[in-house]
């Protein structure tokens, strides 16, 4: 069981990122979230969502899902963003295991772009 993300529905509002940050810190912060809307290609309006799972980084992009196994060698040709957050250093998604009614990112997504898979 995991999160299912619809990048085409996402409006990049960052509510999921803030809700996840609250789950980690009991405060509002954006640096510890394991789910992060990708908004660094602003002029191209290319947005998606990156999710850190236990053994993989999931990139939900408009063209589809990309799963990168953590520890696996990455394509050296791929351009990395200077502003990319250090996702690998963050806690993995635990589906908000201590929250009674499920993951907070699902609860706070205003456009229902995230669901349980």
């Amino acid at each position: 069981m995991g999160l299912k993300i619809d990048a085409l529905t996402c409006t990049a509002c960052m509510a999921c990122e803030l809700a996840c940050g609250y789950h980690r810190d009991d405060a509002f912060a954006l640096l510890s979230s394991c789910i992060v809307p990708y908004r660094a290609r602003e002029k191209k309006n290319y947005v998606g969502i990156i999710l850190k799972e236990e053994d993989s980084l999931v990139a939900a992009r408009p063209e589809g899902l990309e799963i990168n196994r953590i520890g696996q060698e990455q394509d050296p040709e791929k351009e990395a963003d200077a502003s990319a957050k250090p996702m690998l250093l963050r806690e993995s998604c635990d589906l908000c295991e201590d929250v009674d009614d499920g993951p907070l990112c699902i609860k706070f997504c205003p456009v229902n772009a995230i669901s349980m898979d």
Binding site: T11, C13, L18, D26, K44, R61, P62, E63, S83, L104
Partner: protein, 428 residues
Amino acid sequence: MENLASNKISIVDLATRNIIEEELDDDLVLEKIGGAGITKSLYDRFADEDPIVLGAGLLTGSLVPGSSLGVITAKSPLTGRVSHVPLSLDAGMELKYSGFDYIVIKGAADKPVYLWIHDGIADLNDAGDLWGKDVWAATDHIRDLMGDDLIQVLGIGEAGEKGSDLAQICINYWQSGDRMAFGNLFGKKRLKLIAIRGMGLLEIAEPEEFIEKCAGLLSAVKSGGAAGIRGIAAMAAAVGEEDLGGWLQPLTHKHMACFNTSVPTNTFVFLDEDPALLKETAVAEPGFLLTDISPLLKLKKLGLTASDACRVLKACATYGIDGASVAELSEKAGLTDPEAIKSSFPSLKGPVSSSGDAVFSPWAAIGNQEKDAWMRRQAVAYIFGIHPIFAQLAPELTEEKLLDISSIGTELELTSETLEEVIADITG
């Protein structure tokens, strides 16, 4: 103030380059609540030095739906009134997390400067390399320099540098709600831009109760009248301008939201790329983010195609001039050729009706609302930090609920009597 705040005000003197810091006292919050309540109070305190005051609302950057709004308060060179202009998209949120609650910028620099706000640090830097660059180039320059594409840039272009009556402070590459010519003020102060990055943390007095209330508000909004509204055309349709949808649809790429705002009030159009493209385009600058209904409607009424209208607005954003004023003056001058409209930018002068007759930017005036009710709702939005268009679309965010959740988040007793006083103060 310890909760929902960074507890810091920065006072920047452009003339001396001196920057001092003050704490955000609980007493000030108890008296003025936040957002425009406090920016107006700080404006009054430094009024002799023609200040520009930036701040975020009390609830900005929280999980309260629509909590995206920051505010700039200054005297409009266009109207002569002390006015409030919205900081939408992600700018208000980044300001809230920057380590400062409010920033007062007073005096004028003797040569171009920019202000870099991050991690509780405010730095004034030389902007010799930036002066003369258009808004897009200046945004690219500062992001490249800092190595961070998420920096929010409040900047001016040629219009502000050359003292245009209609100069606008743009947000990153896009038009903002600055209909008050605050871009002209930036230019007079030789302040090319303010770069903001927020990576701080906001404590909450009663976290579980606060989050529960946020979830309740979101649930109410999702089942309310705003549900299903997506983008500029849908908002126009909601106020009786149904034609915009069909006109704009062939260019529409995606509807985009401001921070934590349930209704995506912006629409990205592709002008030099297939709007249906799902993967990342190879075109560096394929289009434009539409953030303002008014100029779009006016340019459509002039007979421009959607593509030409969007290209005119993109040119407004690179030049740093208010698109609504450009559209209004083009109509008056009988200009209907997009190239002629763009060529007219340097010679355009106010006054214009696009600046409205209120202290709040008419950017958020959608539909035919009764003025007093609109003013009050704007005041509430600007105090608490709620997106001012969304605030009108979401009556579920009542004043009582916003006061209640603010008190829970701050542990301060904020009353309806205080709110009345603050509304009266900022609406003049």
